[in-house]
Amino acid sequence: MSLGDSATPLGKVRGLGSAHAGGEHWLSERVTSIALVLLGLWLIASLLLLPDLQQRTLVEWLRLPSAAVPMALLIVIGFRHALEGMKVVVDDYVHDEGNRFACNTILLFLAVGGGALALFALGRIAFGGGA
């Protein structure tokens, strides 16, 4: 590989290893974290700027595209980042291969199921089904 000397450490490990995917996971966890810095601060600032936190106010707010779109991103990226982080914790502390697979599978189902539930609720609010 003529690229050897100029490749970054991350560039050298991406796609390598028996799983062929560790580098992507590492990078994705960090990219999603940057997005969540912005989305998390957006959520806190938005809630503080609302006149109150009553149901009617929140429904009207989440019907605005400027609120519904960031909220959808927060749900998708938040659940994804949580799953990526929990996978690191499981991989570090659950040593038996079968148990590790079981834990990661349960976490995957919870994250996808939970994210779908949250998106469904948001869709119902944003597209006018709620309250």
């Binding site: 960090r30 929990m86 914790v89 948001l122």
Partner: protein, 110 residues
């Protein structure tokens, strides 16, 4: 060391506490008035307030130590003194932000 462990602990708390509260809150907003009132009752219960304060602090702590991790990922901030100062700063600032936010929230009386 402590901040590294806190990053994991707060990450787990945000996963199982924060995302559940977020999902429940969205379902409550999408549902009828009774469901929303049930969420509000839980959120205003002393235990609920303690949980929400804990999650707020977890969010700020995880955010700040996460930014610190991003900086060290670039190869910077490995000098012992600067590294330790920034570690302590994440805790001090996260506590200050949490206290400020909740002083405002409880002071306004929502």
């Amino acid at each position: 060391m402590l901040v590294s462990i806190l990053h994991r602990a707060t990450g787990v708390a945000l996963t199982f506490g924060g995302l559940i509260v977020l999902t429940w809150w969205l379902l409550a907003i999408a549902g009828d008035a009774n469901g929303f009132a049930a969420f509000g009752k839980a959120a205003h219960h002393p235990v609920g307030i303690i949980v929400l304060i804990g999650l707020t602090w977890s969010f700020f702590q995880h955010l700040l130590s996460g930014i610190r991790h991003l900086v060290t990922d670039t190869g910077a901030n490995f000098e012992l003194r600067a590294n330790k100062t920034s570690a302590i700063a994440t805790i001090v600032v996260s506590l200050l932000l949490t206290a400020t936010l909740w002083f405002y929230l409880l002071g306004v009386g929502r």
